[in-house]
């Protein structure tokens, strides 16, 4: 029988699952440790080790991490930095996705002389390392008087993200039949009307991909955050760094753990709710 010879039989399957579980455990261990520590008191952790079960569940770590712990002399927990990150990631995600969709629409369905070159230049941004762009951005932000502001970081992420979103959207729209656009032109629709009424309604699969991709990247972004912001203007990733660099106090592992989990929560939620659409959208073109 074919089935007996395939890797689906008893012994082979057992080995397969053992390997998979080993990897899953390997990746999940840090998360579990951090999760458990977020409920342990400082004494508990320092007297035993960072690996351990909470003896008394300490909810206080979470409230302190959120609202009152001192980071770099400001005793407000990570909540203001979370809001900074929201104020950066949400508009930057929406705007970079919108710009990418418009770029992609223009570059795939309204080909013009040089559109291939324009596409090449825009997507070249995908391959430029972030540290290479630090100095140009520093000059740009200073010129625009946006240094050390949430707006400045938002601008950076809109521009940087445009390369990815344009690439994604252009490669998605290239499969939209040209006849649709021709037909709409004869019907009298203009550039933006065709985009809004015909192309955008076809776009949810790719827009979900770009939104998840952009939000996760911008939320987790650290280099620009720590370079171009200080004090109360920091995004949460940079604040976490300042948190753990707090050498004046003893390390509050429990509070740190709670803060890390709070900071990771939005991207975990986005993955949990949008992950399946993400995978579907990425392969949508391939199946067709």
């Amino acid at each position: 029988m074919v089935e007996n010879g395939s890797p689906g039989n008893g012994g082979g399957r057992f080995v397969l699952y053992a390997v998979l579980f080993a990897f899953a455990g390997f990746y999940l261990t840090p998360l579990v440790v951090v999760f458990l520590n977020s409920f342990r008191s400082l004494e508990d952790i320092t007297q035993t080790s960072v690996l351990g079960i909470p003896h008394v569940v300490q909810w206080d770590n979470w409230t302190q991490a959120w609202g009152s712990y001192c980071i770099g002399g400001i005793c407000s927990g990570i909540s203001p930095y979370m809001w900074n990150s929201v104020a950066i990631a949400v508009p930057a995600t929406i705007l970079s996705t919108l710009i990418g969709a418009l770029n992609g629409y223009l570059l795939s369905l309204w080909r013009f002389k040089g559109s291939q070159i324009a596409f090449g230049v825009i997507t070249f941004g995908v391959f430029l390392p972030a540290q290479m762009k630090l100095v140009p951005w520093a000059i740009t932000l200073r010129t625009l008087d946006l240094s050390d502001t949430v707006t400045g970081l938002t601008l950076i992420h809109i521009v940087q993200g445009m390369s990815f979103t344009t690439l994604f959207c252009r490669n998605y729209y290239i499969n939209v039949p040209a006849d649709l656009i021709k037909s709409a032109k004869i019907d009298g629709a203009g550039f933006l009307q065709i985009f809004r009424r015909i192309v955008l309604p076809l776009s949810p699969p790719i827009l979900i991909v770009t939104v998840i991709w952009q939000f996760t990247n911008i939320w987790n972004e650290y280099l620009y955050g720590i370079t171009f912001s200080e004090g109360s203007h920091r995004p949460v990733t940079a604040a976490l760094m300042a948190f753990s660099a707090n050498i004046a106090q003893a390390r509050e592992y429990g509070i740190e753990s709670a803060a890390v989990l709070l900071a990771a929560l939005p991207t975990i939620l986005v993955y949990l709710f949008g992950g399946k659409y993400f995978l579907r959208g990425l392969t949508a073109g391939a199946v067709k």
């Binding site: 039949p177 006849d179 649709l180 021709k182 037909s183 709409a184 032109k185 004869i186 019907d187 009298g188 629709a189 009307q193 009424r197 015909i198 309604p201 076809l202």
Partner: protein, 373 residues
């Protein structure tokens, strides 16, 4: 009134001449079919008429108005695409009204127009569906509805039937013809299918290599093709092209077919020798439609008179189709197709006597490939 007039139109894609000087004048109410093999430029010509593709030089008038630089929406045209190009995210009704919405037609007027078209095409029950929920024939109908609702000067069709299966294609072909008879709007229709061209057109433009080879009514195209290309492209199976030498016999011209083994067949052409003086004694090509060749015994009533000649040929193969029997015969070393009666079953390999209806025989110049008038 002239519905469409095209004046020395050229289209160049880089170094390639796609359209090499097209001239056309189309009267209001005509059904024009542009036909030709793929790559002949017929779809490009349609796109230029629609304004979706710019011409390099030349001038286009629609309804007497110069539209050469006018955008597609303002040319007063409607187009049906091969892929139908229905907007996937809109209902059938949304598809039909989208153009009117773009042009700012008031809602009450839109509703009335949809109702009129839905009735005409019997798609009233489909109005709330999405294109993805429709069959091929229904999509085709909706695409026509979307064009009809505009009530334009000119309808453009870009191979609208080639995505349908054979049976549906014949049905929709009849429907398009009926539609044209009912609405009477000028239509320009692109196809590569010569049967569609013959059945639908009031005039056919046969295109090849970016040029119009012949622009005439279907019967003229069929009976008097302007050149060898048209003769071979139109008709299925195509016109038989047989090398011959022209001789004179009393007052009449005679085509002499000579095979390699020295055998010869003489076919008298119903044309007086003085009309072909230049060709007497020279080689040319004789064009005979398959239906002009029949078995001698099956139409003895028409074998008399000047319009018939006899010749012998060897039967190489027969293809009975039910309605008729096609026979591949060898005449003086040249293969030719003959359209025989349905029950004709000549023996394969046998020699038979064929009767030739020469009233529609064509003569072609082997050098220029033009028909000798």
């Amino acid at each position: 009134m002239s519905a469409l007039s095209i004046d020395s139109l050229r289209v160049r894609f880089g170094p390639i001449d796609v359209l090499k000087g097209i001239d056309m004048a189309i009267e209001s109410g005509e059904f024009i079919v542009l036909v030709g093999p793929s790559g002949c430029g017929k779809s490009t010509l349609l796109n230029v008429i629609a304004g979706l593709q710019a011409s390099s030089t030349g001038r286009i008038e629609i309804g007497g108005r110069d539209v050469t630089r006018v955008p597609p929406a303002d040319r007063d045209i409607a187009m049906v695409f091969q892929s139908y190009a229905l907007y996937p995210s809109m209902s059938v009704k949304g598809n039909i009204t989208f153009g009117m919405e773009c042009r700012g037609v008031p809602k009450a007027e839109r509703e009335a127009a949809v109702e009129r078209v839905a009735k005409l095409l019997q798609i009233g029950h489909l109005l709330d569906r999405r294109p993805s929920q429709l069959s091929g024939g229904q999509r085709q109908r909706v695409a026509m509805g979307r064009a009809l609702v505009r009530d334009p000067i000119l309808f453009l069709f870009d191979e609208p039937l080639s995505n349908l299966d054979a049976k549906l294609r014949v049905e929709m072909r009849m429907e398009i013809k009926r539609l044209h008879q009912r609405v009477g709007t000028t239509m320009v229709y692109v196809t590569h299918d010569q049967v569609e061209a013959m059945t639908l057109a009031t005039r056919i433009a046969v295109m090849h290599q970016g040029k119009i080879q012949q622009f005439a009514d279907p019967q003229t195209i069929y009976d008097a093709p302007a050149n060898l290309f048209v003769a071979r492209f139109m008709g299925s199976p195509p016109m038989n092209i047989i090398p011959a030498r022209l001789e004179a016999e009393r007052d009449w011209a005679v085509a002499v077919l000579r095979s390699d083994d020295g055998r010869s067949e003489r076919i008298q052409i119903p044309r007086r020798r003085e009309t072909l003086t230049n060709w007497i004694g020279r080689d040319l090509l004789l064009g005979l439609r398959p239906e002009c060749i029949s078995l001698q015994d099956e139409n003895d009533h028409s074998s008399d008179g000047a319009a018939a000649a006899n010749l012998t040929g060897r039967v190489e193969m027969i293809e009975p189709t039910g309605a008729e029997t096609m026979a591949l015969i060898n005449v003086a070393g040249v293969e030719a197709m003959a359209r025989l009666k349905a029950d004709a079953r000549p023996m394969i390999g046998s020699r038979a006597l064929f009767s030739i209806d020469v009233s529609k025989a064509c003569l072609f110049d082997p050098q220029t490939e033009l028909r000798i008038p």
